[in-house]
């Protein structure tokens, strides 16, 4: 039996999404190569990217909870990734594997998942790699690299 593949519905729904005020500030501060987190006043939990509800004690958080992180962090877990998904369910096998790490940033309780460059191991210290020209966009933060 032949299988026909359909690329879309007869209509395309273009949703309008807002990242919200908090995430907007987070990305805008990339322009000055800053990483912003939110620190809960009640329980002290610090989450990056910042959120409006504390993931630990459910308190309301806002811009008044913003703290600036040094950007440095420690690799907690690491994987050599051999593929990417192409967005259509297919696998793109990478010529050179890429390193993906779970990183705990200095001063944060939450974990971020980021690309790392260099000879990273569990326990390595890393720092952000910024684009040459930062414009306050997600693409400003390219990856993290090993400091030691």
């Amino acid at each position: 039996m032949g299988v026909d593949r359909y690329s879309g519905l007869p209509f395309v729904a273009r949703f309008r999404w807002s990242v919200g005020k908090i995430m907007e500030k987070f990305y805008r501060s990339f322009a000055e190569k800053k990483i912003i987190a939110a620190k809960c006043e009640k329980c002290g939990y610090t989450v990056v990217p910042p959120r409006q509800i504390c993931p630990q004690c459910y308190s309301r958080m806002g811009e008044e909870n913003f703290v600036e992180l040094s950007g440095r962090g420690v690799v907690e877990s690491l994987t050599e990734v051999a593929f990417r998904l192409d967005g259509k369910g297919g696998y793109i096998w990478l010529e050179k594997p890429e390193l993906l790490a779970a990183v705990k940033l200095e001063g944060a309780n939450s974990t971020i998942f980021v690309r790392v460059e260099g000879d990273a191991r569990i326990g390595s210290e890393v720092e952000p790699v910024w684009a040459e020209k930062t414009e306050g966009k997600p693409s400003d933060l390219i990856s993290f690299r090993v400091v030691k």
Partner: protein, 380 residues
């Protein structure tokens, strides 16, 4: 609270079959489970299905399946997760006293679209989803490493889980991936996706459907000579990826504690005769041993090394082959539930001797964020 029993079940073959429609698959298992239970369509009060819009590529994934499950004009609802959750909601409806007999159905057809791609849409959209390296597999790899570094388990232990399950699957007529002669070396040398995870450590997406019929204690024995009783249930959902300890299945531990408490289980290793767990990735089975308190923390590797979780071992886990032998995403947990029922009824292909208490586990979400545990028994 009213007791609830599972009185019938049906499972489809796990396969990759573009010719079989979802309607057919659901119809066959719904009908099969009712026949197995000895109930007629008129006896069913409520029908809960489980499937997801994202995996099925259409909104309202139960569309055109209400008929296939005989649910027209009945109390009907859908769970957007594993079928064992459909069984949970069905059981809760019966416990409430509103209904007496329920049908729970689940299905996924993986050939339609790669489920691993869909998992990118489970990520928080503004930061994590912007990272094209993140998906279910790479995150599971990070979880595996975290677990390994805290427990001292290594790649070999992960491979041993695969060898056990893929060999167990050989006797299971419905399994998708069966490898009678597979070795630890073969598992380690299979294609590397994201270290330490190789192809054989990742459950293979496939098509499949499953259904169970549940009944209240007031009517169960009218239909069925040997109802299998739900003796305990526990369910817990952990925080989002960034805010939890990925190296531990804390929500599974909590779910298990709740289920054990209701079922009166104090020493799971001794009191549970068999467990069917949803190990979407090899390391998750070892993590489950610990979260289910079959061993102390960090000792999962010893259970697999010593063969304790083999069919003939002291604590058999996944005699059916588990999810590593075939992952029909929404049906996977429900199939674990059915395999546990089969063990108690003495109908399993890899039958555990004198099996009177069984555990079934389903997971949902990235890195098993959400976990559900049922304890089943041959007595109320």
């Amino acid at each position: 609270m009213r007791r609830v029993a599972i009185i019938g079940y049906a499972v489809s073959r796990l396969e990759w079959d573009a010719e079989k429609t979802r309607e057919e698959a659901v119809f066959e298992v719904a009908k099969g489970a009712m026949r197995n239970a000895g109930v007629e369509r008129e006896d069913i009060d409520t029908v809960i299905s489980a499937s997801t819009d994202f995996l099925d590529g259409r909104t309202i994934s139960s569309c055109m399946l209400i008929g296939a499950s005989g649910a027209y004009l009945k109390d009907e609802s859908k769970a957007e997760e594993d079928g064992m959750y459909a069984a949970l909601y069905a059981a809760q409806r019966i416990m409430s006293g509103v209904h007496d007999v329920a049908l729970a159905v689940s299905h996924t057809h993986s050939w339609i679209f790669n489920p691993h791609q869909v998992t990118q849409y489970m990520l928080e959209p503004w930061f994590d989803r912007q990272n094209d390296l993140l998906n279910e597999i790479t995150l599971a790899a990070l979880q595996a490493r975290l677990y390994m570094s805290r427990s001292g388990a290594d790649e070999t232990h992960l491979a041993q889980v695969c060898v056990k399950n893929l060999r167990n699957a050989v006797k299971n007529p419905n399994a998708f991936r069966k490898m009678p002669d597979v070795t630890v070396e073969e598992v380690l040398e299979s294609k590397l996706y994201s270290s330490p995870l190789t192809e054989l450590m990742i459950s293979p997406p496939c098509d499949g459907a499953a259904a169970v019929v549940l009944a209240s204690e007031d009517v169960a024995e009218e239909f069925c000579d040997e109802p299998v009783w739900i003796r305990g249930i526990g369910n817990a959902c952990d925080r989002y990826l960034r805010d939890r300890d990925l190296g531990r299945l804390n929500s599974l531990r909590i779910a298990a504690e709740r289920a054990y408490r209701t079922a009166g289980i104090e020493d799971p290793f001794r009191q549970i005769d068999v467990a069917e767990v949803s190990e979407r990735f090899a390391h998750q089975e070892l993590m489950a041993y610990e979260a289910l308190c079959f061993c102390r923390e960090g000792m999962g590797k010893v259970l697999i090394e010593e063969g304790m979780t083999e069919v003939y071992g002291d604590m058999p886990v996944n005699p059916s082959g588990g999810a590593l032998a075939g992952d029909a995403v929404c049906a996977t947990g429900m199939i674990r539930l059915i395999e546990a029922v089969k063990q108690i009824r003495g109908e399993a292909e890899n039958q555990v001797e004198e099996c009177r208490t069984a555990l079934a586990h389903a997971q949902w979400g990235l890195c098993a964020q959400k976990n559900l545990v049922f304890i089943l028994g041959d007595r109320r």
